[in-house]
């Protein structure tokens, strides 16, 4: 391994390659901030450039920089504008956006940058040490386990149910699951619930729904509630507290440690990925937080931001395990990367480490450098990026609206998306007025399709639901999901009962 490490280091530390990684990070960060252009599309755009470089190592180093930059850029729009451009950063907006609203945009971005860096770095180390062994782990999961894993992911909604709005959160989750069934699934060759509209045939698009549920209602609220936005603007203008205090660092350090590892292992499973990792990270950290801290989740908890940010980056790194060792892309982004590798005459798979070790190691080292460069480049930029929020609201609101509309149009080039966006945006605003949480709807929508596909596949393979009892890991995961839902609501009820008892005593 040491020998490989040296090969990788000597490849990565050339002037050209360092320039590649810096360029890649910058391009990735800035394009990644636009919702609708996630890591997948940015990498697809950059691939022709990378291929013309000719040298596979340089190309991969450039792409790794773009990849990490894009993930970080995506978190930026989640945190500042409540406009998550990719599913993996939805959970970052749960606490990141409230922090930004409270005038702590700079701090939120700093936490995001540091968590991402740590997640990616720990992930890269785990990848380096365990990749060959983990290829078998990646294959332990069958459809039945993926189904159970999605159920565990859904238990993240318990975090929103704790506030006493259990029924509302459940209803929104259900609505999200129902919306996921629109269109042609992987399992049926006929479209469902499209009402004869061709534009619905491929289903509702994630980006349109995310913009409609989060960004658009936010912009509308800003218009309707000038007092609130003025206050936000005032604080945002100063951007107080860019630095993280020692106390805060001690608070998030264990979160980052746990989520780097948990996120990485979830990422190793092809078909789980960064989104599940971020939801699970959020749910787990909320569950093990103290009662005091739990109340902050959803209202600007630094733990609630650090958890998904760490987990999604660690998972992105983890997804390289099946890619490099088995040649299986676990996500859309790694599928595009696989395409790039093949175009460069590199065939990932069991033979990669033996046939071309320098490439294997260059990839791993480039991840590490990509992370480091990203942190170094972005920390000084954060105050400027955060200034977006100090734009006067009569400019900021049109800016958010433009951003939002563009995000949903750009991926599909389909104007109907805009109508769908506005329609759902209005519904979402009404729901927000009625105090329905919108995040569970989006979680349900994101997980719904995978939940259904894996469930149906298992049903077909086992000719019924016997797989739940036949496969111990499936059962275990389902029990875990049940615990993740029951324990917090039990704790919440007990806390309420205690509070009521005190009141009675008075």
């Amino acid at each position: 391994m040491l020998e490989g490490l040296m090969i990788g280091l000597s490849t990565a530390f050339s002037v050209t390659n360092i320039l590649m990684v810096i360029g890649g990070c910058l391009i990735g960060t800035f394009i990644g901030m636009l919702p609708g252009l996630g890591p997948m599309s940015i990498i697809a755009i950059m691939i022709p450039v990378a291929i013309t470089l000719g040298d596979p190592s340089a190309a991969l180093i450039l792409l790794a920089g773009v990849y990490y930059g894009a993930i970080f850029g995506g978190s930026t729009s989640s945190i500042l504008l409540n406009a998550p451009g990719v599913a993996g950063t939805v959970a970052s907006s749960f606490d990141g956006y409230p922090m930004a609203r409270a005038g702590m945009a700079g701090k939120a971005l700093t936490i995001a940058a540091i968590s991402s860096f740590m997640g990616g770095t720990v992930g890269a180390i785990l990848l380096m040490v365990f990749a060959p062994m983990l290829s078998t782990v990646a294959l332990l999961f069958h459809s039945a386990e993926y189904f159970a894993l999605m159920v565990v992911g859904l238990s993240a909604i318990a975090a929103f149910a704790g506030t006493g709005n259990v029924a509302k959160a459940l209803m929104m989750t259900l609505l999200g699951l129902m919306m996921a069934t629109v269109g042609e699934g992987a399992l049926f060759n006929m479209p469902r619930f499209t009402m004869g509209l061709m534009d619905l045939q491929s289903g509702l698009s994630f980006i349109t729904l995310a913009m409609a549920m989060f960004a658009l209602p936010e912009a509308i609220f800003l218009v309707m509630n000038p007092g609130r936005s003025a206050q936000g603007g005032e604080n945002g203008g100063k951007i107080t507290g860019l630095r993280i205090t020692g106390q805060e660092a001690r608070k998030i350090a264990p979160v980052i440690g746990r989520q780097s590892i948990q996120g990485f292992f979830i990422g190793v499973l092809p078909g789980a990925g960064a989104t599940i990792a971020s939801f699970l990270g959020y749910a787990v950290e909320r569950n093990i937080a103290t009662e005091e801290e739990q109340k902050e989740f959803g209202k600007g908890s630094i733990k609630g931001l650090a958890a998904p940010e760490t987990a999604n980056n660690a998972a992105c790194t983890g997804s390289f395990v099946p890619l490099l060792t088995l040649g299986i892309p676990g996500s859309g982004t790694t599928a595009i990367l696989l395409g790039a590798l093949i175009a460069l005459n590199v065939t990932p798979g069991p033979r990669l480490m033996i046939d071309s070790p320098h490439i294997f190691w260059a990839v791993i080292i480039s991840m590490y450098i990509g992370n480091l460069v990203l942190l170094v480049l972005n920390l000084p930029l954060i105050p400027y990026i955060a200034k977006v929020l100090s734009i006067p609201r009569n400019y900021l609101i049109p800016f958010i609206l433009f951003f939002t509309l563009m995000g949903s149009y750009i991926g599909q080039n389909n104007a109907t998306e805009l109508l769908i966006l506005v329609g759902f945006g209005i519904c979402a605003t009404v729901l927000r007025f009625a105090d329905y949480p919108l995040a569970p709807l989006l979680i349900g929508f994101i997980l719904g399709r995978m939940l259904e596909d894996n469930f149906a596949r298992s049903m077909q393979l086992y000719d019924g639901i016997s797989f739940i009892l036949d496969r111990p890991m499936t059962l275990g995961l389902l029990v875990l999901a049940a615990l993740l839902v029951i324990v917090p609501s039990y704790r919440a009820r007990r806390a309420r009962a205690r509070a009521a008892g005190v009141a009675d005593g008075d």
Partner: protein, 326 residues
């Protein structure tokens, strides 16, 4: 997006073609400009085909400039509707399409079929293949069929398309030619090629029905054994893979990709398009694009294209009826 799996080759094609601009050249230009209409989003197999073809046509000097437009929706149906509704103004437009236009017209996913358009030419194709994991005890189709007869419910075949989609139909065709009931085959659909492959390696499915170029890539990586390919004779690019027919299974299948014009396109224009595409095969630019993407040249122009499509429509239609999808 289409529900057909984007194989790695297709993804690569898309990726490689995402940023290619035509550089006008002078050598016996056939057409001034071509506008490619792509019925799916950026990054899919159709996208890669259109942009790769445009690149070869412009670099090879056959066409002055090429432009591209992605119009996704309705699994390709939206773009077909657009071609038909705006036929008069679409003289310079070529739409890319592939086998799904036949399948989806049959299932009625969209109301039109290939006869509503002007057929220009089929340009490339990919055969289908059945593969098993490297360490599987199964080595050829005969052993696969034996395993299937022993335990039909435990011998699941996976693929990257919906039930009734291309990968399923190929597997069913194979079972049919082996004298088995194609409806009894347990077909498990996956939404992307990578996941189906993971399922094969994890033992969830016993065999995988997939595109031949993808199968070659997997076999090169030392992960799968190719049981059979649906070509008439062994494919030179990978001639250790036996055909289905040499193993006594009369199954041939080509997943073609090709180009269509708006209905009522003038004969001169059609001829010019066909001429440009036919000459494209001799250019170095095309050879670059083709090799980069691992495509197989399968050229069917004009009437040949029509009879090819009619033949495929009949085969697939009969099978789908038998499988209960129609």
């Amino acid at each position: 997006m289409t529900s057909f799996a984007l194989g790695r080759r297709a993804l690569m094609a898309a990726a490689a073609a995402a940023l290619t601009f035509g550089t006008p050249a002078s050598a016996e230009q056939v057409l001034d400009k071509v506008h490619f209409l792509i019925p799916g989003g950026a990054g899919g197999g159709w996208d890669g085909t259109a942009r790769g073809t445009g690149e070869a046509l412009t670099k090879g000097g056959l066409v002055g400039t090429a432009s591209y437009e992605n119009m996704s929706g309705g699994g390709g149906g939206k773009a077909i509707g657009y071609m038909i509704e705006n036929a008069e103004s679409l003289d310079d437009t070529l739409m890319v399409n592939s086998t799904p236009i036949v399948i989806r017209s049959l299932t009625g996913v969209f109301p039109h079929n290939f006869r509503d358009l002007t057929l220009v030419a089929g340009t490339i194709g990919d055969y289908a293949a059945m593969v098993v994991a490297k360490d599987s005890p199964i080595n050829n189709m005969e052993e696969f069929l034996e395993a299937y007869r022993e335990d039909p419910r435990g011998t699941a075949v996976g693929g990257g398309s919906v039930p009734g989609g291309m990968d399923h139909l190929v597997a069913a065709m194979v079972m049919q030619s082996a004298g088995e009931d194609p409806t009894a085959l347990k077909y498990i659909p996956y939404d992307a090629g990578g996941k189906a492959m993971a399922a094969l390696l994890s033992g969830e499915i016993k065999a995988l029905s997939t595109g031949f170029s993808e199968a070659i890539a997997l076999a090169d990586a030392g992960e799968v054994k190719i049981l059979g390919v649906t070509a008439d004779e062994r494919v030179p690019a990978y001639d250790t893979a036996p055909t289905m027919s040499e193993q006594g299974l009369d199954t041939t299948f080509v997943n073609w990709r090709g180009f269509f014009g708006a209905p009522g396109l003038s004969e001169d224009k059609v001829a010019a398009y066909q001429d440009a595409l036919a000459k494209m095969y001799d250019t170095d630019a095309w050879e670059d694009v083709r090799a980069r993407n691992g495509w197989v040249n399968i050229h069917n122009s004009g009437d040949d294209f029509r009879s090819f499509l009619e033949g495929q429509e009949k085969t697939i239609g009969d099978l789908m009826k038998q499988l209960g999808f129609l």
